[in-house]
């Protein structure tokens, strides 16, 4: 019921996301067809190529989608001054989707044509058909059913994989799924997953019936008449698609980015709304960038400013050892970023988002747990739930366990946003969350004190490209005003307003800025 209500309340957004999703899939399949069918035909003419080409396509299929998206981001493939693959956004997502769609299309084109009865091919040759006539009038029409079957598989794969594209700011229904996962909101997850599943189902049914219609006699003979219109449609779709990438970043524009969790979206809004209020610049928002994408996007010049944390920059990006003193950490990253990345760290926002070791309130009261050392003593009976991030970082699990002497009964590695719920439901007993997370109060969790000072400081600071500051010096002033604007309790409140009360980040930030007298309430 609540899902239905969600759809009714957000119908415009749902429709927009569905269209984005269809667009990603449609353009990807069109490109994959333009590459895959000719390649498949080539393989039937030069069978020696079939091993390397099918092998490559096979390997592409086995690469996990998020990893493939990650590989493509630093790529910088230019064609006529236009970057066709690389960076964040639909472009790279389409690149990855095309790679996934290629295998079934190449393979089915190849097997479809190879499967044509040799007697039919010989009759055609003996009657004086040229290779081209044989291909267009006999082989392709007879292979068409098999080729469509390949397109059908490719489409269903793409509809599913495209949901993950939201992680690199490519849009589509994945936005709801990722947002839902972050906010622990099942309705939001379903709002993304259900339409995606329906699209896959409808595409499957439609292409299935098309396949049957073509396999039945007769229809295939009309294929020659379809070749040019189909080619034209595919090209149109691609041209229309690429025109999206050509949007010029005008001189009076500034792009604000954010990572892919609630706090970052709030901070992104904070930057964006302040810049909008204090300058005449047009602000473009590119939020929801997963992993280190925000950093890579900034280096690539695709975003101008986002909020980074000193600890993250030091450890995950600069690959330096942790520094316990917050002021020293800030000085280090500021000078390194100026040298290595031509970007500037401005004033810290005023709060520290470090790892928070959390337990259930009941457990804490019953066992009188105050510090992490308290917890370490009874950890052999405990199950821990950690995000992938915490497991893999240098300031994450290995050093943590060593410092405090943890010996868990079981460690479950899961998405960070799922750990809170898992803890609240008693599926795990201890998690490593974020100190500013709104869910801490929502689930009545208790943060244990880092009594051995293991975790380095994670002060939140806007990072801005020097180029952007040169073009728009007024931005420096604006960012300075944001120095010390939030403490950790306020950040938790804002996070809770979004995660716990399901309010829009836009509204929450507007309210906050108005309260802070940065925005004048109209």
């Amino acid at each position: 019921m609540s899902l239905l209500r969600f759809f009714l309340e957000h119908r415009a957004e749902v429709v927009a996301l569905i269209l984005e999703h269809l667009f990603l899939v449609g353009v990807s399949i069109a490109i994959a067809l333009l590459i895959g069918v000719p390649l498949g035909i080539l393989l039937t003419r030069k069978p020696a190529l079939s091993k390397p080409i099918l092998g490559f396509a096979n390997i592409m299929q086995t690469v996990p989608s998020l990893a493939l998206f990650g590989f493509l981001i630093p790529v910088n493939l230019m064609l006529f001054d236009v970057r066709i693959i690389g960076g964040i956004g639909a472009r790279t997502a389409i690149g990855a989707l095309v790679l996934y769609a290629l295998l079934p299309i190449i393979r089915n084109t190849f097997t479809g044509i190879s499967g044509v009865d040799p007697a039919i091919r010989e009759a055609g040759r003996g009657m004086g058909m040229t290779d081209r006539q044989l291909l267009l009038q006999v082989e392709l029409p007879l292979a068409l059913g098999v080729i469509i079957a390949g397109v059908r598989v490719a489409t269903v794969i793409c509809v599913g994989t495209a949901t993950i594209a939201a992680a690199i700011d490519a849009g589509g229904l994945g936005r709801y799924i990722f947002r839902g996962l972050r906010a622990n909101d099942n309705v939001l997850i379903l709002a993304g997953a259900v339409p995606a599943a329906l699209i896959a189902l409808i595409a499957d049914l439609f292409l299935g019936s098309l396949e049957r219609a073509i396999r039945s006699r007769g229809a295939a003979s009309r294929v020659r008449k379809l070749v040019w219109p189909a080619l034209a449609t595919a090209l149109l779709l691609i041209v229309f698609g690429t025109s999206n990438f050509l949007r010029d970043h005008g001189a009076s524009r500034i792009v604000v980015g954010s990572k892919d969790f609630t706090e970052q979206i709030i901070l992104g809004e904070l930057l964006a709304q302040t810049i909008e209020a204090k300058t005449s610049l047009q602000v473009e928002r590119r939020f929801d960038l997963g992993g280190n994408l925000a950093h890579q996007a900034m280096i690539g010049g695709e975003i101008d400013v986002y909020v980074e944390y000193t600890g993250t920059a030091l450890l995950a990006i600069l690959k330096k050892p942790p520094i316990k003193d917050p002021a020293e950490a800030y000085r280090q990253v500021k000078s390194s970023y100026a040298k290595e990345f031509s970007s500037e760290w401005t004033e810290p926002l005023g709060f520290d988002n470090t790892f928070a070791i959390l337990v259930r309130g009941d457990d804490a009261r019953r066992d009188k747990l105050k510090t992490i050392s308290d917890a370490a003593r009874s950890s052999s009976q405990w199950r821990a739930g950690f995000g992938q991030d915490f497991m893999s970082r240098r300031d994450g699990y290995p050093g943590f366990a060593r410092t405090y002497g943890f010996q868990f009964k079981e460690i479950r590695e899961m998405d960070l946003s799922l750990t809170y719920r898992a803890l609240a439901k008693g599926q795990v007993d201890l998690i490593a969350g974020n100190s500013t997370d709104g869910l801490i109060s929502r689930y009545g969790l208790v943060q244990l004190e880092d009594d051995l000072h293991y975790f380095p400081p994670y002060d939140a600071v806007p990072v801005v490209r020097q180029k952007a500051l040169e073009n728009h010096p007024e931005v420096r002033e604006v960012l300075k005003q944001l120095g010390g604007i939030l403490n950790v309790e306020q950040m938790r409140e804002l996070n809770y307003a979004v995660d716990g009360e399901q309010r829009q980040p836009k509204d929450v930030v507007r309210e906050f800025l108005t309260h802070k007298m940065i925005l004048i309430d109209r």
Partner: protein, 255 residues
């Protein structure tokens, strides 16, 4: 239309697939316009190989094949093939095309006007005893083996080529249908006066259709002459085939 010289000439033609493995050995054969030469022999004797060198589906490894006085190597293969009708045992009708479209294929490749293609297809259907109104719009799967074979012959005749190659065209038919279609084919042959090369392993068929028979064994032509002479030949392979012919005749008289 006739070119210079005989319709088809084989001049010391050999064909080997690998060093030493010869499918055809020093073949010499001249086929005149309007003649029907039947290439007879067991499976693997080189009949089909011989035939495929006429329309250049295969090129000789030594020697020369000439069609209308011109070496096949000098012909544009596409032009050459369109002058030669081709019927194979598996028929090779295109399953995605109607009977009418199958027959009209070569005329369409030759860019005949649509109306002329249609009329020609219907004319040919009638010629091979298939009612045009009921067959033109059907698909190959809807036809019996004998009907399909007739369509195969009609398709080979479509652009009115001066020569026709037939590779065991009736091999897959039951004996009765086969008899019927052979008889029809004979009258068609007389009516059209085309040069034909016909491959078969059935000596009865060879006797029924040939003006001359070429008997092949292991890639060599061991006999070439009119059917009557074959009966008198002393070559063991010829006698084996003749013996077989007498046996079938007897068997058929009994039944």
């Amino acid at each position: 239309m006739t070119g210079n010289g005989p319709a088809i000439e084989f001049d010391n033609v050999s064909f080997e697939i690998a060093e030493g493995k010869k499918l055809l050995l020093d073949l010499n054969l001249t086929i005149d316009h309007g003649e029907t030469v039947v290439l007879l022999g067991r499976s693997g004797s080189g009949k089909t190989t011989t035939m495929k060198m006429i329309n250049r589906l295969l090129d000789p490894t030594s020697g020369e094949v000439r069609v209308e006085g011109i070496s096949t190597g000098a012909w544009n293969p596409i032009k050459l093939r369109r002058r030669i009708g081709y019927v194979i045992q598996d028929i090779g009708l295109f399953p995605h095309l109607t009977i009418e479209e199958n027959i009209g294929l070569v005329p369409r490749l030759e860019s005949w006007p649509a109306e002329r293609i249609r009329n020609r297809a219907r004319e040919l259907l009638a010629m091979v005893s298939l009612e045009p109104d009921s067959f033109a719009a059907r698909y190959p799967v809807e036809l019996s083996g004998g009907q399909r074979q007739r369509v195969g012959v009609a398709r080979a005749l479509a652009a009115d080529p001066p020569m026709i190659l037939l590779d065991e065209p009736f091999g897959a038919l039951d004996p009765i249908t086969r008899r019927e279609i052979q008889q029809e084919f004979r009258s068609l042959q007389k009516q059209l006066g085309k040069t034909m090369v016909f491959v078969t392993h059935d000596i009865g068929e060879a006797f029924a259709l040939a003006t001359r028979i070429g008997l092949l064994k292991d890639g060599e032509m061991i006999f070439l002459g009119p059917p009557a002479e074959l009966l008198a030949s002393n070559h063991p392979e010829a006698r084996a085939f003749v013996q077989c012919f007498h046996d079938t005749e007897k068997a058929q008289r009994c039944s």
